[in-house]
Structures are given as structure tokens and as C-alpha cells.
């Protein structure tokens, strides 16, 4: 029995089925999972009106995402739910890897202080969706959420997209300038459009259990290869709020998922792991994992994001985190195109940037899953040799792969970024922005809280006095904010005069050792797929 109290969201008959005229929306989002809801909030905060259609009327059911990475937390903080996630979630940054009963090594994902958000927060997906729905309701004049509304048809012209929607009251159609298909791994929109979803399935089954127990395990990620409590397989233990632990147990390909889900099968396996302490099963599933992606994410006026566009195995927590980073990348571009501030060509950069990010996520997730589930005797020999050598040798510990955890993608070398004169400079064009503690006249703040709402220029005074360029707000170190611990100057390598152009999604777009308005104008045009004014 799940501990979480699922509440049904109210379905109401849409205006189109009450005899009222339907309206045309700038954006319709299909799917109210974490990715679609994030998109709705992001667009609404940029003044775009959004309709969200979801075939269900409840948040995510069962054991799904729990680990939310620093970059995701920063994005969701910009959207107004980050602090709530931090307050409820379990903060962690240390992972330990065991072979049999011995610890091989541990890693620290955020050894340095001076960031608002931690390396990771563990929080059940249903809470994240609940908080995002609450946030949508706060922005209620710009977001309409329609539950029990299944998209059953898609057609587009060069001008608009038309969706056929099925509801308990019957079908209707709705028109949109753009549709975001955030309808998950079995995306109806993708299937209705006859689009491919190529990739690889891992021939392995994993038991994923959420277990309620009072235990004193620290807030760390623990991973075992071949533990004595689960011989020959792998196991993962993660702490969640509400005294719930996530346990992943590798089962082998020859097991029967229906049988393995039965409590009389699950309980002894968990018992072997957690010992005599009392526990209760909150949810149990058996999964087979896959890594796939669409060839392209932008199809005319229909744009795919999240699991509909790419799916990974969960070792590394790159699924939901990757999807939310899609939205961060997409929404400022889409808003600029809808406001006619940028040409439609800007959307092509979403494909360029997020396909490369998806490939990085797929590569890392696939490698981790392969390491856990070696295919064939030779791969197993290599894997086992790495584990054997890892006790003694540092190089082999580095090869042990229990999941390479989600990190933001570096956009260096892609079209929108202006290459730096010195390519070895830290925080080079394409780098995700780092946080740092600062002070403004309002008190202590964080740098990432200032880098919101559009393009920004970060500048440290030098010989040339800065002035605004094309209306882009300047953030001058020492004038607009105080660099409390010197971390802004250090993390951004800001020598006097240095100027950094920061994109709305908090990635470096360009940088210069001096303040050069002409160069800034050219870089700004490039970053919005436009021509310099």
C-alpha cells in the first residue's frame, strides 16, 4: 500500500464540449509528467499561455524517479519549486561502491561549498509533480490543465497544429501554434506521426522496491556488485523522504517478472539485505531497461521533449533530469520565436544541443547498465577483472561503473555559442553556469538567482566603462552585487574587464577579456539565430 495519498485532479468538461467556441493556443503541452509540467511553468513565466492535456488525472504512480540533480534543482528553483523540493527531499552527495561485502571506494559529487543547490536531492516523482501542479495553479491565468484528455490525433500545416482530444464527454479538436509532445516513453504523438524510436534493450530484469522502514542508513547512494545478500547480481540502496528506501535488485534475464513481484518472493530478498529490522513494501515493480532516442526532436511545429524523445536506463538518474534540461533549453527559444524576437530557425538549435545531450546521457547510461549486466563471457571476464583489481588499484576503481550521475551538458562548439579567443579559459562558451554566494542591496543571494529572465552580461570593471548593449541587463561585479567569497571571480575566471554573455538557460554564450559592445552585439545575434542589428 503506497504511503503517498494520491488525490484525483478534477476533470471538467472543456469549453469546446459545452458549446463555447474553442480558442487557439500559442502552445499546447501533451503530458503532465515532470517534463510537461515544467514546460508549462517555464512558458507561463515568460508570458506565454499554455494548455496542458493529460490522459490521466493523478500524479505519477509507483516507483519512478527519485534522484534530482543539481542542475535540475537550479532550473526548478528558477521556476519556483526548488526550495520546496529541497525542504522535503533528502540531500546527498556521497556515493559508496561495494564489491561483495567490502567497500571499493566512495565519491563526493560536490566537494566544494558555495552553491545554493546540493549535488542531489532524493524526492519521489509524485511529490515533484504535485509541487509543479501547485505551481501551475498559482499561474492559473496563463496555464489551463485538462485532465482525462487523451490526444488521439495530430495533424499540422505550416501555420498550426491540430490535436484531436478524447475526453469522458467525447472528442473535440484544439489548435496550437506549437505542440510540445511530453507524453512519455510510449508517446502517442510520436506514434500518431509514425516517427521512429531506435535504440537498445538491455536483456536484464531489475526488481525496484520502495520499502518503508525506520533505519539509520546515511543519506548516501550505496551500490553493491555481487553482494553476499544477493549473490552474483547487483544492488542499489537510496534513501527517500517519509522513511522510504529505494532498493534496486538485479534479477537476471531468465526470471519471470510476474512471479518476482509477489510479496512472498520480494520479502526474503529485502530481508537478506536489511536484516532483522521491520519493514513494509510500499511499491514493487520489475523493469527491463532500454536506451533509445528519436532521430530528431523538432518536427515542424511539434517538438518532443523528455522520455518521448529519448529514454535511458535509470543508472545515473539521467531520464527525468535530462528531460527537464530539455525544457530549460527549449522554452526561452520558443518564447522568443512566439514573441517574434527570434526567427523560427532558433528552434533548430534545440535539436542540435539536446540531441548531443541525449547522446551523452544514453552513452553513460548504456555503459553503466552494460557494466552491471555484461553480455557474454568475455565482457563478464573483463568486468570481473576490473572488480578484482579495484580493491588494490586506483585505475581500476575508476573503471568500476555503477552509474555516472547526471550532469548538465556542455554546449561548447555548437552553433549558438561564439568561440572564445582563448579556448582553454574556464567557463568557456557553452559551459553551464556555476553558482556562488553574493550580496545585493536586498541581502545575501545566489548568483544563479540573478541570472534569470533573459540574456545577462556578467562583467568585472576594467579599463572600458560598460554600458548596456541592445537592452541586455548588465551585472557588474562590485556595482550590482558583491562577490562575498570571491567565488564569482574565481569560478568565472573574471579578470578586470572580463565580460561574459549568459543565455537565458544559464549557459555561457560568449566571453571576452574586455568589454567590447560590437562583439557583444554580434554574439547576441548569433545566440538567437538572428542577424546583428
Amino acid at each position: 500500500m503506497p504511503r503517498y495519498a494520491y488525490r484525483r485532479f478534477p476533470y471538467t468538461t472543456p469549453p469546446e464540449l459545452r458549446g463555447a467556441a474553442g480558442r487557439r493556443w500559442p502552445v499546447v503541452v501533451v503530458g503532465a509528467g515532470p517534463v510537461g509540467l515544467t514546460a508549462a511553468v517555464d512558458l507561463a513565466l515568460q508570458g506565454i499561455e499554455v494548455l496542458v492535456l493529460d490522459d490521466n488525472d493523478v500524479v505519477s504512480v509507483g516507483s519512478r524517479a527519485i534522484c534530482w540533480a543539481k542542475r535540475t534543482l537550479e532550473i526548478l528553483d528558477r521556476l519556483g519549486v526548488g526550495e520546496r523540493m529541497l525542504a522535503k527531499g533528502i540531500t546527498w552527495k556521497v556515493g559508496r561502491v561495494f564489491h561483495r561485502d567490502r567497500e571499493l571506494y566512495s565519491f563526493d559529487l560536490l566537494p566544494e561549498a558555495g552553491h545554493k543547490m546540493p549535488a542531489f536531492v532524493n524526492l519521489q516523482q509524485y511529490y515533484v509533480e504535485e509541487y509543479l501542479v501547485d505551481r501551475c495553479r498559482e499561474l492559473g491565468d496563463r496555464i489551463e490543465l485538462r485532465w482525462k484528455s487523451r490526444v488521439a490525433g495530430v495533424s499540422q500545416t505550416g501555420e498550426r497544429v491540430r490535436l484531436a482530444v478524447a475526453t469522458p464527454d467525447g472528442p473535440y479538436t484544439v489548435d496550437a501554434d506549437y505542440v510540445l509532445a511530453c507524453d512519455g516513453v510510449r508517446s502517442s504523438v510520436r506514434q500518431l506521426m509514425g516517427l521512429d524510436f531506435a535504440g537498445q534493450v538491455f536483456e536484464e530484469r531489475f526488481l525496484i522496491a520502495d520499502v518503508v522502514m525506520a533505519a539509520e542508513f546515511p543519506s548516501e547512494r550505496w551500490f553493491w556488485f555481487e553482494p553476499t545478500f544477493h549473490p552474483g547480481q547487483s544492488a542499489l540502496l537510496h534513501k527517500q523522504p517519509d522513511d522510504i528506501y529505494r532498493i534496486d535488485l538485479q534479477l537476471g534475464w531468465d526470471t519471470d517478472p510476474e512471479v518476482e513481484k509477489r510479496p512472498e518472493r520480494v520479502t526474503p530478498r529485502i530481508r537478506a539485505m536489511v536484516g532483522e529490522r521491520p519493514f513494509e513494501l510500499d511499491w514493487v515493480s520489475v523493469y527491463t531497461f532500454q536506451c533509445r532516442r528519436m532521430e530528431r526532436f523538432v518536427h515542424g511545429r511539434v517538438i518532443f521533449a523528455g522520455d518521448s524523445a529519448h529514454v535511458v536506463s535509470p543508472f545515473g538518474a539521467r531520464g527525468g533530469n535530462g528531460g527537464i534540461q530539455d525544457i530549460d533549453n527549449l522554452c526561452w527559444k520558443l518564447a522568443a520565436v512566439l514573441r517574434r524576437e527570434a526567427p523560427e530557425a532558433l528552434l533548430a538549435s534545440y535539436d542540435e544541443e539536446r540531441i548531443r545531450a541525449a547522446d551523452e546521457n544514453i552513452l553513460n547510461s548504456a555503459r553503466a547498465t552494460s557494466f552491471m549486466t555484461p553480455k557474454g563471457p568475455v565482457e563478464r571476464l573483463f568486468r570481473d577483472a576490473v572488480l578484482e583489481l579495484a580493491e588494490e588499484h586506483a585505475f581500476a576503481r575508476r573503471l568500476v561503473n555503477s552509474g555516472r550521475l547526471s550532469r548538465p551538458h556542455h554546449l561548447g562548439g555548437l552553433t549558438l555559442q561564439t568561440p572564445a579567443e582563448d579556448p582553454t579559459v574556464p567557463m568557456a562558451p557553452g559551459a553551464p553556469c556555476e553558482d556562488a554566494p553574493i550580496a545585493t542591496p536586498d541581502g545575501r543571494r545566489w548568483l544563479l538567482e540573478l541570472l534569470r529572465g533573459g540574456f545577462r552580461l556578467l562583467h568585472r570593471p576594467g579599463d572600458t566603462p560598460p554600458r548596456p548593449v541592445d537592452g541586455v541587463p548588465m551585472l557588474v561585479l562590485g556595482r550590482d552585487f558583491e562577490d562575498l567569497e570571491g567565488l564569482v571571480a574565481r569560478r568565472y575566471a573574471l579578470a578586470p574587464g572580463a565580460t561574459v554573455l549568459i543565455r537565458p538557460d544559464q549557459h555561457v554564450g560568449a566571453r571576452w577579456p574586455e568589454f567590447d559592445p560590437g562583439a557583444i552585439r554580434v554574439a547576441l545575434a548569433r545566440a538567437t539565430a538572428g542577424v546583428p542589428s
Binding site: 555481487e226 549473490p231 552474483g232 553513460n364 555503459r367 552494460s370 557494466f371 563471457p377 568475455v378 565482457e379 563478464r380 573483463f382 570481473d384 576490473v386 578484482e388 583489481l389 580493491e391 588494490e392 588499484h393 586506483a394 585505475f395 581500476a396 576503481r397 575508476r398 573503471l399 561503473n401 555516472r404
Partner: protein
């Protein structure tokens, strides 16, 4: 610190591991075995230093565990 096992692959570690696995794709166990032998000889030559190779062989021969305890 054990010098032979010090990490020299750095951020390329996962790529190198994947290259080794990839090299065996589609081979029978017998062919893999032969490939591994060729690899050892070529890597020994790439190291090119008898005393280092001696140390590598010694490290590889040190079994952290008695093989009879293995479960797989």
C-alpha cells in the same frame, strides 16, 4: 601508493573500457582469447620497459581472492 595501479586513464577511463569490450564484439571465446594475447603482446611493446612489464605481470598475478571462493 602503488605506482603500477595509479590512474593514468583519467576521464578517458570509460572510453577505453568500452573500446576493449568493443574489440571483442562478434568473436567466439577462442577468438577472444587470441585477441587478448595479441593485445597483451602489443601493450607490452607499447610499454617498452622490461622492469615495468615485470611489475605489471606481478600485479596481475596477485589474486585478491582465492579463486575457489568465486560465485560466478
Amino acid at each position: 601508493m602503488n605506482e603500477i595501479g595509479a590512474d593514468r586513464l583519467g576521464s578517458a577511463a570509460d572510453d577505453v573500457y568500452a573500446m576493449l569490450i568493443e574489440a571483442h564484439a562478434g568473436l567466439t571465446p577462442e577468438e577472444s582469447h587470441r585477441l587478448n594475447v595479441r593485445l597483451v603482446l602489443l601493450l607490452a611493446n607499447a610499454i617498452g620497459d622490461r622492469e615495468r612489464i615485470r611489475a605489471v605481470i606481478a600485479a596481475a598475478r596477485r589474486h585478491p581472492r582465492d579463486p575457489s571462493q568465486r560465485t560466478t
